[in-house]
């Protein structure tokens, strides 16, 4: 055992003791993610072509989590995020707005109508001539088709709804388009990804491309893949939407984040999603 490993083991044991957790706390990078004993998800695969110069393989953030955290996502009764999926389902059936409609009025059973949606968003909307996130599409429907108030872009209501929509694509490979009308946004997202930002002067790539697998204190750096969003985070026991996570990351490098729901963060979401093309949709995932 090297000196470094030994320090880490001691630290890990101390941590486990301090929060009275049983079991190992070291991530098992060879574990397989199977949900409810039946749905096998892809958590490691070959990098998409556009990423070949930077990465050979891509890994879901699930791979980097501790064994206990990994296990929570493997059973829907243990996954705290699934409670919010149920709330999203209630909201789906709730009639709101001047048109006296619910989501279900037009889209019926989300298991059929929403299947595959999470896997391909953010996506170009031809009629509107814009790149749209799942959140953006939900609010478009609420305001234009239901005559209802939009949800706040980052909010409990929105997180519940996008979690419920994500679950309908669980196990399907992320497959966002990166060319055609979204090419300019994708390039913009890539530029943001590689721009060193904030007073700590770090880019997304500084940690998640150059240093995944390494540790920043107790934080095991992942590739920053977003196939698991929205993600239930144990640190504050709630769902996190992806652009809220971007916001938090940029705040943490002492930067000024873009607004949640802004064209810049939507471009970044498209680019980061495309780095995970081929990984399974996991939402609602469990992370620390």
């Amino acid at each position: 055992m090297t000196k470094l490993t030994s320090i880490r083991t001691i630290a890990a044991l101390a941590f486990a003791g301090s929060i009275a957790l049983g079991g190992a706390v070291t991530a098992d990078e060879n574990a397989e993610l199977v949900i409810n004993g039946e749905l096998a998800l892809v958590t490691k695969t070959a990098a998409p072509d556009h990423l070949k110069d930077s990465l050979d393989e891509i890994y879901s953030g699930w791979v980097y989590r501790e064994t206990d955290t990994q296990a929570m996502q493997m059973d829907d009764f243990d996954n705290p995020g699934m409670v919010f999926v149920d709330l999203g389902m209630d909201a789906w059936n709730k009639v709101e707005g001047t048109e006296n409609k619910s989501c279900a009025s037009c889209h019926n059973d989300p298991a059929e109508s929403m299947k595959g949606v999470r896997a391909t968003y953010p996506k170009w909307n031809e009629a509107a001539g814009e790149l749209r996130t799942v959140e953006g599409q939900v609010n478009h429907c609420r305001t234009k088709n239901m005559g209802a108030e939009p949800y706040k872009y980052v909010s409990g209501d929105m997180a519940n709804m996008v979690a419920m929509i994500a679950v309908q694509s669980r196990g399907m490979p992320v497959n966002v388009a990166i060319d055609g009308p979204v090419k300019a946004a994708w390039e913009q997202g890539k530029e943001i990804y590689y721009t060193r930002t904030g007073v700590l002067d770090l880019s997304c790539a500084s940690c998640h491309e150059q240093n995944y697998g390494n540790y920043i204190r107790a934080d095991h750096l992942s590739q920053g893949q977003i196939n698991g969003f929205p993600a239930y985070r144990l640190k504050d026991a709630r769902l996190h939407q992806v652009q809220d996570r971007f916001w938090g990351c940029i705040r943490d490098v002492r930067g000024e984040p873009y607004d949640r729901g802004s064209p810049e963060f939507t471009a970044l979401e498209l680019y980061v999603a495309s780095r995970g093309n081929g990984l399974s949709v996991e939402g609602a995932s469990v992370r620390n």
Binding site: V199, N211, Y215, R217, I250, E256
Partner: protein, 154 residues
């Protein structure tokens, strides 16, 4: 009277920094190294160790292992700092703290005594835009960390 005026003028020149300190923009670098003390006050190694372990200050152990510091969860993004005082001079160590990109091109390590050249700098960890950028560490904290690192001999 004359003396008082000169003192006042010197203070104004130093801007927000304390009198006698070298402000971030006035630091002289030679091939990444900074010869002159930033404060003229000898660094305190024990204080430097605290700065390095403190998450709200240097938090050097976030990325570097330092065996002699009692800090949990030391990271491994950067190299171990054990023996740093045998590998680098004080001037080189000071320069790496002020702005390590002048020694290691492209390094992910932040600069700890620099106030310009940033993209979208924030006001601390608030997520708001910075109105005035303060360096991550003060001049004396830099000197204290230099003293700590210089004493880490093989």
């Amino acid at each position: 009277m004359k003396l008082a005026l000169i003192t006042a003028a010197a203070f104004v020149t130093a801007g927000a920094a304390f009198a006698g300190e070298i402000a971030p923009k006035d630091v002289v670098m030679t091939e990444g190294a900074v010869e002159a003390s930033l404060t003229g006050v000898a660094g305190n190694a024990a204080e430097g160790g605290k700065v390095m372990a403190n998450r709200a200050q240097g938090n050097c152990v976030a990325c570097h292992e330092v065996s002699s510091l009692k800090a949990a969860f030391q990271g491994n993004v950067g190299p171990s700092l054990d023996g740093a005082g045998s590998r680098w001079s004080e001037a080189q160590l000071r320069g790496m703290l002020v702005n390590p990109k002048m020694t290691f091109e492209g390094t992910v390590m932040p600069a700890f005594y620099k106030v310009d050249g940033y993209t979208r700098p924030g006001d601390g960890y608030t997520g708001k835009a910075a109105t005035e950028i303060t360096p991550v560490l003060t001049a004396q904290q830099i000197e204290d960390v230099v003293a700590f690192l210089a004493a880490l001999k093989e």
